[in-house]
Amino acid sequence: MTAGAMKVKVLYFASLRDAVGTAEETVETPAVDATGLYASLQARHGFSMPRERLRVAVDGAFAQWTDPLRDGCEVAFIPPVSGG
């Protein structure tokens, strides 16, 4: 594990999950917040969806993109919803 890096579990839904090919993965990241984490995952997986269209949830609750991430937390990127 890189100095300063932490492990986070990332959940993918809908078109993001299709793009990654899996519903969840555990990643090591030096990112301090969800903004940095999404940027690195977008580069790795080639997500076409810009961050501005997503919401982010940490440990099952909606969060701010600039909230600090903690080691072992669970991050979910929420594409625009279409229930109902």
Binding site: F13, G60, V81
Partner: protein, 138 residues
């Protein structure tokens, strides 16, 4: 008792409605979303709803609690299907009871609007032409 639920199987609205009624109720407003054979001009064969279950249940409960606090109503509930649905299947149900019709209608409308805009549920449509796709409205 939770007011918001996800159901992986078809569910019975008559039972849900009965659970909301009591002697104080003068007005019951309900809304149901059904799987149509068309959407945005395309022929739909069927669809699938996927939810981020933990967050969907929390967000759904939050919407129902906000609605109970904001409107002069007696009770409210919402159930949303998940999984594969065919044309003509029920996708979502909202029921609201109140003494009077004005807040019953307003609260029912508020709940479905908020559920559609906030609850992490996604619709995957399969078209008659064979292709399919996730709906991520702007």
């Amino acid at each position: 008792m939770p007011r918001f639920a996800l159901s992986p199987t078809p569910f019975d609205t008559a039972t849900l409605r009965a659970g909301l009624l009591d002697a104080r109720v003068g007005a019951y407003a309900s809304f149901e979303g059904w799987v149509r054979d068309h959407n945005d001009g395309r022929s739909v064969h069927g669809l699938r709803y996927e939810a981020y279950e933990l967050l969907a249940l929390r967000e759904g409960e939050a919407i129902l609690a906000e609605t109970m606090a904001r409107f002069d109503i007696l009770d409210a509930a919402c159930v949303h299907r998940t999984g594969d649905l065919a044309i003509g299947e029920l996708a979502v149900w909202v029921g609201v009871t109140a003494a009077h019709r004005e807040p019953a209608f307003a609260a029912c409308r508020h709940i479905i609007d908020e559920v559609k805009s906030r609850v992490p549920i996604w619709k995957h449509e399969r078209y008659v032409e064979g292709d399919a796709g996730w709906l991520h409205p702007d």
